[in-house]
Every structure is written in structure tokens, then in C-alpha cells.
Amino acid sequence: MTLMRYAEALNAALREEMQRDPSVFLFGEDVGRYGGVFKVSKGLRDEFGDARVRDTPISEQALTAMAVTAAMSGTKPVLEIMYADFLPLSLDALINQASVFSYLWEGQVDMPFVLRTQGGGGVGTGAQHAKSLDAMVCHIPGLKVVAPATPADAKGLLKSAIRDRQPVIFLEHKLLYNTRGEVPDGDDVLVPIGKAKVVVEGKHVSIFASSKMVIEAENAAKLLAEDGIEAEVIDLRTLRPLDLDAIRQSIAKTNHAVVVNEGWTFCGYASELSATIMEYCFDDLDAPVARVAMPDMAIPYSEPLEMAVLPNAVKIAAAARKALA
């Protein structure tokens, strides 16, 4: 085990996978000389050269389309999209190219690319640089979507993503890059895509979250514990494909659920979780699943306004209390 920051864990994963497989390459805005604006690719251009660690123009739409076909022609691209807010620019390539061709040309080609990006609010970056658009990418067949909350999962999932034969959308969070955690040593320690993890055990209410919202959920569990409520916190880690087994097991025990996502509520990822849980665990539920997500509005800049819209531990705890009431 080594204590690492989340950004360092990602950097280690990239370095190890690039050493292991010469067909892995990185590209994106400012990922080379500068090492990425969040420093995730720091030092990699020096180590692997500028063919494999490539600074690009500001051309997200074509870059994503190029990742798709580069992946179909022998390389394993890892594309960095600087902010998740720019994902709309990638969606045509994901929906109309990656998703379509992975079905139509199945058996003829693999499509091993990773699209890394980071989202989330809390530091005054404004309405165009703080969104979580998880639902948009999770809607797309043929893609996998992961959203790690800890340095260990960040590393293990990124390595799995790079080795996967399907496209993987890798969602990071700007407020997680500096968080620290123990990361297992070893070049082949992977975290499997598609497996959730119980991070706090409890028996009264299940809280499902991912990415930075796992930290908020853990804090909510502490708040609830003060009232004697034992919340179970499940870190989904993978948003698609969803780990239904883990969800069912927890609900069977707690009979109550809160789902958390930093994206907008309506047609958001929390809605999918809510619908799925109610559909598959209806008889086990004593109350409707509670959604805790962003209100349906653009994210404001000013601190008191931004703080009011972001989901947080207090809101999660309140939703859990209401579900149990």
C-alpha cells in the first residue's frame, strides 16, 4: 500500500499501462507539455514522447470521433476532455459512432478507448465548468461508465478501463484530485468494472452514490448515526453496467433507499437508480426511493448560490430521515 493523491493514482495507472502496452496513447488539451490542467498526465510526455502523449487543439468533437476509430485500428487511445461540461461536444461521436459501430461491426473490431473527464461543482467555476452530465453518457448503449471515489479505485478502475475492449467513459471529480488514500501496490491490481462496494455497513437505509458524492454519503451516515440510524453506504463505482446484485442485497436488508447524484434531477442518473430500485425491489421497499440530486437549473457562480444547489451530506441525511419517517 502507498498513500497517494487521487490525481497521482490516475497518473500511476496511466504510466503503468503505457509501459505495459505500447499501443496505449494519451491525447487531449494541455495533457502533454503541461501535464494536464489537473496534472494527471504529469511527466508522461517526457517518459513516452510526444507521439504518445499529445497536446491537441480545442476540437473535442473530432477528437472523440478520432478516439473511436483509432481504437478500431490498433491503438488504445485515452482521451482527456478537460471538463465534463464539454461532453455534449463528444456525444455525437459516442452515440452515433462508438455505440452504433460496436454493435454493427461486432466481431470485426474491438473499440478499446477511454474518455477521461472531470465534473462537479463547489469551487466557483460557474455554469459552464461545474456540471455533472453522468446521465448523458450513461444513456448510451455499448459504453461503460465508471466514476471512482477513492485513489485506489481511481487507479484500479482506470487500469481496467484501458484494458477493456469496449469504450469506457471515466468520470473524475475536480474536488477529488487532492484527496488521499491508500493504494495497493503492484502493476496488476485491477478493480473490476461493474462491481459496487459497500463502504459503510448499516441496516436502516441504503445510500447509493458515486464519485465525490460517496464522501457526502459517508458524512451523511455519520450525521445519521448521531440519531441512531445505521445507514449503509454503497459506492457504485461503475454507473453502467449497474451492479444490480449489490443493490438488491442492500435493499433486502434495509428496505429504504436514498440515491445520490451530482447531476440534474430530471432525467438524471438518480432517476434511473430510483426507477431501477423500485422496479426490482418494490416488495422490499417500505418507502419510495428518495432522490438527492442537483435542482433543475443552471449552476450559479456566487458562493451562497452554488452551495445551495449542490447535493451534500446534510441533504442526504434529511432525505434518509424522511424515507424512514
Binding site: A51, L63, Q108
Partner: protein, 323 residues
Amino acid sequence: MKNAPSTEELKDIHYKMVVTRELEEVLGAYAKEGKTRGPIHRCDGQEAVGVAACAALRTDDYVCTTHRGHHVYVGKGLSARGIIAEIFGRETGYCKGRGGHMLLGDVSTGMLGGNAIVGAGIPAATGMALSIQILKQDRVSMVVFGDGAAQTGICHEAMNMAGLWKLPVIFLLENNQYGLTVRQEVQSPVADLSIRAAGYDMPGEIVDGNDAEAVYRAVAVAAERARRGEGPSLIEAKTYRVKGFSTSDMGGYQSDEEMAPWLERDPIKLLSAKLTALVGADAVLAIEAEACAEVARAFEAALSDPFPTFEIHAPSAAYSETL
């Protein structure tokens, strides 16, 4: 002349152009009878562009095309049988019937593939060129795209990166003078779209798209350049769409006067005359007869092929339990 096709190559090009034409004529007849599904986009009169361009490449070079790609499919070496089977939704089609006329792909011939999102082939080929460069392969990639596609944002983004990184990609602009139902001048203020090449630091050239030899030469030169690591080229092949946009087009906007000179310069007629001078009329007729025979056999076989049966697509599954 340097990079000119040999007589053998010209014969092969002619054969494939006739296969394409015949395939579309027969398809057209089926469409009229209501026996096809969805829109079919014919490339009549444009065969030289797709067929001759592919002839100048190697089998392992990558090619992307549009919704109007029959000439490119045939040019790249796909069988009429597999193409027709795909268009009729059969299990034996290149995509097992999943793709249809606009979305054919065949990795074994580097055909990756048709694309019905206008412009999408442009970054697609550019991405493959990026792979080629990173893997240091002796390959090129080519995209055939339309005058309409030249106005898309991805065209600009991809060409800029190709020029910047000197990627081994050939941008073959098939200027058939129409977007969907409106003329090119309704979509762009410049008549010669190839002038934009200068803005990406790559050569831009205009060729007669109805002259198979001219297309072949231009692509061969661009491919050599790309293989030498000198980067991309933009070739604008001027041609004309003689059959309307697709089988769903109600027409009425292409005048006979506009069309006449192009019908006169039909690329198959032109190459037929050239070849006749080289190998004699009988040899040319024999090529054409064999091409039509192949197409007839292909339709017969494809139409008795089975339809696929439905299955949920496991890799797309949203829940782990269905994996």
C-alpha cells in the same frame, strides 16, 4: 505518366464501375417495386470517384465513406453479394443485416465504413491515420465525403489536426454539386472548396471526378506523399449526382439542361472509350458482361439468404445481471 494506372488496373476499375452501376440499377428496380427498405442513395455518374480512388490504394489501407458509398465499397474489394445481402437485411450481409445500405463495414478490406452522419467519415479516417502514425505502419487512410459534409465543424477540426500532425490521410471531396436538395452554392460561398486546404497547410487540388484515370493519379500521388510522412492532401473531385438524392427524393429541382452535359460525360462511357482504344471493343464488352453477370448471381444468392434472428446485445447491457 507517373502514377497512372496500368491497363490491367484500368480494366479492373472498369469492371468495378460497371458492377456498381449494375448493382444500383437492379436495386433501383427493386426499390420501384417497393421491395427495398429505407432510403437508397445511388452514386450513378460518380462511380469513377470511389472506384478509381480505392484502386490507387492497397487492401490494408483504410477507407471511410458516406451514405452514398456503393462505388467505394465495390472499389475497396467488397463483394456484390455481401453488399446486396446487407441491403436486404440478411444474415450474410457484411454487418449481418444490422447496418443496412448506409452502414456497411468490412475490416478485412479496410473498409471502415459507410456513415450516415454527414461529415463523420472525416474525423474517422483522421483517427485511423493517427493510429497508423503511432504504430509507425506503412499505411494510409482515406475518406470520401461530400460537398455538403465540407461545411461541418468536424471537417475543420479533423483537417486542422491532420495538417498539424502530418497524418497519412487523404481527404477526397466528392463534389457532386448537391447537398440534399440544394446546390452547393446554397451551402457555401466558395465554388472550389479545395481552396480551404491552404488553411490547414496541405495541398488542395481539383480533379475531374468523371475521369477515372485522373482520380487514380491524384489519389496515388497523395498516398505516396502520406506514406513518405509528408501529411494529408485534399482532393476535390468535381462530379455530378444524376439520380437525385435517394429513393425517397421526389425530385423536380435538377433540370435537364443542368444534367445533360454530365450524362454526356458519364464516367463509364469515358473509361469504356479509353479502354476500347487500349484493348479493343470485345474485351471491354466481355468485362462489362462479366460484371453484370456477377451482379445477377449476387442478387440471386443474397435474396435467398436467411434473415438474422433477434438477440439482445450483451455488451450494450445496462445492468450486470443481463451480462
